[in-house]
Amino acid sequence: MLIEQSAYANRWRKASPAAKAFFALCGFVAAFAAPVPQIAAAIAAGLAIVTVAGAGVPAGRYLRVAAPALLFLAISCLSLAFSLNLSNEGGGLSMQWAPTEAGRIAQVGTRSLAALAALLFLVLTTPLIDLIALLRRLRVPEVLLELMVLCYRMLFVFSEAMRDTLTAQSARLGYASSRLALRSLGLMAANLTLQIWQRAHGLHVAALARNNDGPLRFIEPTYASARRDMVLAALGGGALIAISWAFS
């Protein structure tokens, strides 16, 4: 939901998604091309600043969205920093600090950080509906897009249904003890399964009523300043790649 909020309420909401995706792609290229950790870190910082200062995504929200990925990255880096050895004498396992790996860890860590910043730039400034429309223009197979559209829509329908069920159960002491909570959760899962089936049928009937007999086709949104956005994205993205390339 945090990602959704930002995607709809940022300054660049109306900018062309193609331009934003291109800039993010340049960010990825720059991240992977960065020769030293300092440059990769600088690119990550640059992308984060563009997202927060440029698109107007609140810094606190940015960090909250990034936190799970950062935690995962930190754990991955730690696992690279230590190596497990099987001791020949005692036959036991021992953990060893691998100082020689420090440079490589810094390299991988900062590159991942820059790639994460590029991805966050895209998802925090572009609603998924715009991204799906962009993928449609890029000729991604229809069946994949239809699945994405339906899954995305259903995500909200079911989160609402789940919230309602949860509230109704809590109001009747459904979660008063751990045993009751387990039972209530089971009932909710069973109920939602039935609802999925019913709603899938309902959607099928609604589609039939609107004369659908095959693929789901939708209109493509238009953007007033798409060309200007693309030029700006190309300049910005080019600058990122140039920085990365200049120090290699």
């Binding site: 829509r153 709603r199 959607l203 039939l208 609107r210 659908n212 086709r217 939708f218 209109i219 949104p221």
Partner: protein
């Protein structure tokens, strides 16, 4: 001229429950029709018959005087003329963006991109949702979702618009706004058929009232004729419109003597105001 006719239509669901049990009714072109009935009386089943989502097990449906053709092309033709708006918007809206969802029906009619774009814009304007074109469906209120549902059907430019309990779940303001949308659609020449539990709304709005009971159309009456009778409503377990009860009481007390019968609370109040002013002027 009758646009849609049902003649002794019967339909039973696979679980054995009766949907329609010899239902006959007709909808006149350009009219406003309210379908009244208690829960389970067969309103939704009837609606699903109107554009061929369900096929009668016996009996016949005619559209513009011609029996409905249930072939693929026949259904395509029928569904482009009869649009259904379902009761729960979340079961009808399946695209994440407003304009994408509205464009779904016109694309299914095989229209080109430019015409679809025009139709989407005009349908959204007709329901007062043009500012929400690029909003996500899940960020809309219940009433707004209902409007988008109507726009999705309007964009197909139907002759007959069928709405399943459109007022359910709407607050009073949204109901008034919705009535304005319905009046506008009627002014465009669209025939309207809607299901409702609200006898006061049906009396105020409809030209014809169809009463459903146990899978049958118990009666089809001219809404104005209720002023002279109304027993037919009590026969199917429905109350009289509140404004009609009040009017009768006022007449019996000698407080209201106008020939015309008000159809809504607001109309009654303005007639009473007029009467008071007239009496003051005379005295």
């Amino acid at each position: 001229m009758n646009l849609l006719e049902l003649e002794d239509v019967r339909f039973r669901y696979p679980d054995g429950s009766v949907g329609l049990n010899g239902c006959s009714l007709s909808i006149t072109r350009g009219s406003r029709n309210a379908l009244l009935g208690v829960n389970g009386s067969g309103k939704t089943t009837l609606f699903q018959h109107t554009n061929g989502l369900l096929r009668p097990q016996s009996g016949q449906l005619r559209y513009a005087g011609v029996p409905i053709d249930y072939s693929r092309s026949g259904l395509r033709e029928l569904r482009s003329r009869v649009g259904i708006v379902f009761q729960n918007p979340d079961r009808q809206l399946f695209s994440a963006s407003v304009q994408e969802d509205v464009s779904f029906g016109p694309f299914n009619l095989g229209l080109g991109k430019e015409i679809v774009r025009e139709r989407v814009a005009s349908a959204l304007q007709a329901v007062g949702m043009e500012k929400f074109a690029d909003k996500a469906v899940h960020n809309l209120s219940f009433g707004q979702k209902k409007r988008v549902c109507i726009a999705g059907v309007l964009a197909m430019e139907p002759e007959l618009l069928v709405l399943d309990e459109p007022m359910a779940g709407l607050d009073v303001i949204a109901q008034h706004e919705f009535m304005a949308v319905l009046d506008d659609l009627h002014a465009r020449g669209i025939t309207l058929l809607l299901a409702t539990h609200d006898i006061d709304f049906a009396y105020a709005w409809a030209d014809r009232i169809h009463l459903m009971s146990a899978g049958q159309c118990a009666a089809s009456i001219d809404a104005r004729s209720l002023a002279d009778g109304g027993e037919i409503l009590t026969d199917v377990g429905l109350p009289l419109p509140a404004v009609l009860e009040l009017e009768r009481k006022l007449r019996s007390c000698g407080l209201f003597s106008r020939e015309v019968s008000p159809r809504s609370h607001r109309e009654l109040l303005s007639l009473l105001d007029e009467s008071n002013t007239f009496e003051k002027e005379v005295s």
